[in-house]
Symmetry: C2
Subunit: 203 residues, 2 copies
DNA sequence: GGCTTTCGCTACGAGTCGTAGCGTAATGCC
DNA sequence: GGCATTACGCTACGACTCGTAGCGAAAGCC
């Protein structure tokens, strides 16, 4: 969330209810209006708060939408399904389900686009959205190595590179499938994707 | 480009010079201002044309930026490097080079985000940007099958699915690497990506 | 020359932005 | 309980952008 300086202990505290109402209203507006037609004044009205309250907490539309969308990814987890392939399929399906939500589709790509010219915004996205997924890649690999499905990584540097590569491939493919190709990343697609990811095109 | 009705053969023709100037000015403004701060009035001034001329040819910012960015992908081709791996590396590097341009980064993701709520816009992107890349996937696979590096596809339906899958994986990974991870998709990264794509994680 | 369409220019109402100012409400500290 | 401090709701504001309308002039085809 927004960083409130912990030194301030005096004065009226910020309403946590208002926070939740604003983020919910933002997602609602994303569904109904989309990114470009979403206005902060409208969000304030939907949330039942004053527009000035919004500007006290968020620097602008970008930061607000990142926080609103980030909450959607809280549900991500990696259930142990017994094999690397099954684990991958499970988590990719979860990711695809979240990304299929209209509020995620409209908002996420727009803030990513804005982040190309705003380092602070990109860092905010990384911290609140991306890292939560990258953790799943690390967990899944550790499990697979414990099962003997993947060889252990000797070199820590090359290990980090591999995680980044896998992450770009998984997240990138699902995002591209959902947003650009505009086709559902359903079970059939996820099975095919996992097969190529694990065994390559040559089979 | 924009569809001018071919029946209209009379009257003053539209200036092709103005078209080129507008698209160039759009890319210039994308570099300097980014998507959100780009205004059509500013583009018109840069291009040396009246704002009304812009609105006569494009419905709005979305369509204009799609056309401006699409021209960047005209340079894509698939040189024959002798092996499937080398072909993939070559074309992925080309794609990454284009996507690293600031005007492509700022503009492309923004219009993709807008396209989640605008079918016509998504179709415009598909026609002018995506299909040009998908053609390369088809060519590359045909070459690899001729060389015996890939098995021939018996079922046309499953063949089309595979092309779509490969395309989502390639384009998605490069886009995610460049825009979200904000790391360069350089030769080293492309080599690692190609290896996983061809042989899988289990090696 | 006449017809048609585009061009540059100006002007306009509508809408959004982000901020300032004010009085009030809610908390911690003494 | 009183005080300082901060958040809140509300209103109003100038600045900006949007997309369109109307005009006279320009450039092509018959």
């Amino acid at each position: 969330m927004q960083s409130r300086s912990p030194a301030s202990r005096t004065g009226r505290p910020r309403s946590a209810t208002a926070d939740a109402a604003i983020l919910a209203a933002t997602r609602e507006a994303l569904v109904e209006l989309g990114w470009s037609k979403l206005t902060l004044g409208d969000v304030a009205t939907r949330a039942g708060v004053a527009k000035t309250t919004l500007y006290r907490r968020w620097a602008g539309k970008n930061e607000l939408v990142v926080d609103a969308v980030a909450e959607l990814f809280d549900a991500l987890e990696l259930p142990d399904r017994g094999s690397l392939a099954a684990d991958i399929e499970g988590v990719v399906l979860q990711f695809a389900t979240i990304l299929a939500l209209p509020e995620a589709k409209s908002g996420l790509m727009a803030v990513v686009a804005e982040a190309t010219r705003d380092d602070a915004l990109r860092e905010r996205i990384r911290a609140s959205v991306v890292d939560r997924q990258k953790r799943l890649v690390l967990e899944g690999r550790a499990r697979a190595q414990a099962r003997g499905e993947l060889p252990p990584e000797p070199d820590p540097a090359s290990s980090a590179r591999t995680v980044d590569l896998i992450f770009d491939m998984v997240a990138g493919a699902v995002v591209h499938r959902t947003l650009v190709s505009a086709e559902p990343a359903d079970e059939e697609w996820v099975r095919g994707f996992t097969r190529v990811l694990l065994h390559g095109l040559g089979d």
